[in-house]
Amino acid sequence: MANVRPKVDAVIVGLGWCGSLMAEELTRAGLNVVAIERGPWFETSTDFPPSVDTDELRWDTRRSMLLPPAIETTTFRNNRSQTALPTRDWSLNELGYNVGGSGTHWAGMAWRFLPFDFEPYSYTLKRYGKQQLTDGLIVQDWGVTYDDLEPFYDRFEKIAGVSGKAGVLNGKQVEGGNIFEGSRKNEFPLPPLATTRLTDLFTEGSKKLGLHPFMVPAGQASQAYTNPLGVRMGPCTYCGYCLYYGCGNFSKSSPNACVIPALMQRSNFTVLTDSAVLRATLAEDGKTATGVTYLDRNRKEWHQPADIVIFSAFQMQNVRLLLLSKIGKPYDPASRSGVVGRAYSFQTVSGANLFFEDEQLNQYIGAGALSVQVDDYNGDNFDHRGKGFIGGAGILVVARGARPIGNADAVPPGTPRWGSDWKKAYTHAFQNGTFIFNQGTSFSHDECYLDLDPEYKDANGDPLIRVTFDYNENDRRMARFTEDKAVEIGKAMGAKIVNGFDSAATNYGPYLPASDHTIGGAVMGTDPKTSVLNRYQQSWDVHNVFVLGASSFPNNAGYNPTSTIAALSLWTAKAIIEQYLSKRGPLVEVSA
């Protein structure tokens, strides 16, 4: 190849949370690092100044920060008997397309997963026995535990300036926090965000039912803050423009605000923007990668040689890069063999729409993670005996800011779609309408997977990812169960109209509202026969390839994934620096 850049110690593919945290660790350890980002350079003060940025049409309605489907999309089908078609419009898949990745437009919910979420198989076997698992359900331990990750969660919370209240501190329950959380060594770096009328109503209502509400950990700084990298954050102004927006107030945690300013001061770090990595290149024996091939903004092909290759793109892109690079054996659903693309899953959502009689919710005051939740029906926090499923959901309300355009159809059923009656109803609903959201766990199934589409290709001639997915029986039961709980809470809150909803009641579709937290396909684990990566997110097959992101999750928790992908990235960075650099081989031996 004609165009070859100088060799580096590590190349990072995708500069979102995972890539920037990895780059921060590796450059601080002295490695020479190049990050290759498909999207453009985005910077807090120039791209999101608060004087211009509260533009719902641009950022929210038109999704101006996301990867356009015309550049890369997926094809989709519910099962193997169907022919998949491309998702051509904005959908549930909200891929980042800029320096900062999805970490720039995220809402900021900064959760730790439960200890159960990392060891669902062991927990289930111990508490209920194997009969609790429905047919074909993929339930396996991650190879890493909550306790392993605790220091890395802590580090991320400090870098991101997370606002929250501990519920379990060094094994002891703390008033006001989430009593179901795994034990924490430290309190959050910042106190929780202020509550709103909506969160107060939920707190009161859920307490009446004997539940345990708490403020959701938020990636919005509740106070002025200086993170461990020396970066300053400003206190959140509760403007409500978080999800799909950048934050010009330096208040929302993002790679752009919290990591990249420090990273850009290091001479051993370089970022190539507007450059799309096509695949990793492998040595002749296929046992190591030699670097990556990418296209620059002028579609000229380059090679970036590197001793270590880090895939830290979006979950689906990581899986696609592995498949296009021929790293690991692709999953074959017929023979139930192979691993790359296996254990794809999503998030199972139900809840209730609420309309009050005469409230003043003032929802224009908000923040992406200004939210109160109960975890009484999440993970394995309740007794599942006789229920026919495992898992659960975090049940929450969120004061995320009322979108004048986006909320225009959030009116009670039966309201006319236009005219003076609609206006009257919308005016009323603006202060009185809201919803309870059950963010549910999801487990994959033998029949749900990702592979390369046999027909549809992108502009470079590379096949798109094909999604074969539908909700499984375990998750459908869970969603129905938690929908009832949401309705109970809605009634206890005093809403006049409470209408339950369940996105898993019908077939999955990429345009149906749920969450955007897709996971799996390149999962970590303890056995190369059922996982792509070992417990350090290192490829079992090509030892100098590490894959970061929700693609590593064998199952999804009832939470947003960001803090967990960040903690796993920091965990992997430590393993690279302390073990891999001297070993240059597999960090976990496969027992014969």
Partner: protein, 451 residues
């Protein structure tokens, strides 16, 4: 005079926020540099803020000389901020008289100073004479560097000889006739160049003397902070009592409690110079550049000495006037504009955000008689200094498109007379003139068209 305009231009480059990125975006050529964001680009400054590395087994004179070069901020002009090699020159200094290019001072024999003698080098820095005795233009602040000690000059020379040679031919003098006649500078020197070397004051502490030495000499603070006469010479009786630059006002930095830094603690001054901000002020514009390239790398002991010296200067006679009252029309309009546009970051109590958004109450720079820096910042936006201690690169957006001249005048009048502040009202005509000078667009009308 030229020296301060050099700073002005640097400031505009630094502050054209999207400009820095936009420019980079315009490099469409397909080469290895394509798409590369350089370290420090976040600040629009390709030098970044790496701590200067001392090499092991280095001659101590070289290490000391590197520090002298930092304290003198030589790189500010002699390194082209647009991805230029260190000290290779070529940076264009726009002056009212025409263009000057900073010279190549690397050890290159053909185009740099590799063939110079130490004596020639010392004469250039301290006396403004070229290799062959020709006059340099006072864009090179030799009227300050004349105070640099023999020891520091010797160390600086030792260091400059280690700067890697870069072959880069620079034709410095691009001034039109008659300013291109270097001999003219002979007259300037006669009038304004005080050749007296630094003389310590025997009764003052070593700390104060060190501070005076750094401020008067290497730091060349007077280049911006002292008012100039019409030919660009310092008005020495107004030393560090504030200077006007095109687009900026460098505020008084003496011990005057109202207009200067007399009300600050020495810790606040040191923190400002070390990190670019403190709980009151955020360095932006030309000062951000000085902090990023120079003062942040200076020792705390030296910064403390600078603080002690500045606070020991009695400064101007400026005293706080009676604040304007809230009933006046401008104050009412200003309060509304502030509430809608400024309070998210600067807070409703005017206290700002520690080390991120400047505090406005009791901030001497806000109350300077000349509101030029405020007007420029509101119209054009501003970016805080990027330092190792505070890499945030916090910035303020441009409000030119959003606010009218009258609204800007009112909000500035309001912040200059609220939270304990008191200063003359700002006139809409001055805002209009600055808008014109900065070539910024008019306020956008309600229907989205430019007025």
């Amino acid at each position: 005079m030229i020296a301060r305009h050099r700073k002005t231009l640097a400031a505009v480059a630094l502050l054209s926020l999207s400009g820095a990125i936009g420019l980079y975006g315009a490099y469409g050529v397909a080469d290895a540099a394509d798409g590369i964001v350089q370290p420090g680009q976040q600040s629009g400054n390709s030098q970044g803020v790496q701590a200067p590395a001392t090499q092991p087994q280095e001659d101590p004179a070289v290490a000391r000389g590197r520090y002298v070069a930092i304290a003198g901020d030589c790189a500010a002009c002699h390194t082209d901020p647009h991805q230029g090699k260190p000290f290779a020159g070529g940076y264009a200094l726009e002056t009212p008289f025409g263009k000057l290019l900073a010279s190549n001072i690397t050890s290159d024999k053909a185009t740099g100073i590799g063939d110079w003698s130490e004596e020639q080098f010392t004469r250039a820095v301290r006396e403004g004479k070229g290799r062959h005795g020709e006059n340099l233009y006072p864009a090179m602040p030799y009227n300050a560097y004349v105070k640099v000690s023999d020891q520091d000059m010797h160390d600086l020379w030792a260091y400059m000889q280690t700067v890697p040679a870069v072959n880069n031919q620079v034709v410095s003098n691009q001034l039109p006739f008659p300013f291109n006649i270097r001999l003219m500078m002979m007259g300037w020197n006669l009038l304004f160049f005080d050749k007296t070397p630094f003389k310590p004051v025997t009764e003052a502490s070593a700390d104060l003397n060190r501070g005076a030495y750094l401020v008067q000499g290497l730091g060349h603070c007077a280049a911006c902070h002292t008012e100039k006469n019409f030919l660009g010479g310092d008005k020495n009786d107004r030393f560090l009592q504030g200077g006007d630059l095109a687009g900026w006002h460098a505020p008084e930095i003496t011990g005057n409690r109202y207009a200067g830094v007399g009300g600050w603690t020495s810790e606040q001054i040191v923190q400002y110079l070390k990190t670019g901000s403190n709980d009151i002020a955020v360095a932006s514009g030309p000062m951000a550049e000085a902090v990023t390239n120079s003062t942040q790398h200076m020792s705390n002991q030296d910064l403390n000495a600078i603080a002690a010296y500045l606070q020991s200067l009695p400064g101007s006679k400026a005293t706080k006037p009676q604040p304007l009252t809230a009933v006046q029309q401008a104050m009412k309009q200003g309060a509304n504009v502030y509430s809608a546009n400024c309070s998210a970051c600067h807070n409703s109590d005017g206290k700002g955000i520690n080390q991120l958004a400047a505090g406005l109450g009791n901030n001497p720079a806000v109350q300077a008689a000349n509101p030029q820096s405020l007007t420029t910042t509101v119209l054009q936006g501003g970016r805080g200094a990027v330092t190792l201690g505070n890499p945030t690169s916090g910035a303020m957006p441009s409000f030119a498109w959003k606010l009218s001249d009258q609204q800007i005048a009112s909000v500035l009048t309001y912040i200059r007379n609220t939270w304990g502040n008191a200063a003359p009202a700002v006139d809409a005509h001055q805002v209009a003139q600055t808008r014109k000078d900065l070539k910024l667009p008019a306020q956008m009308s309600a229907d989205g068209s430019a007025r």
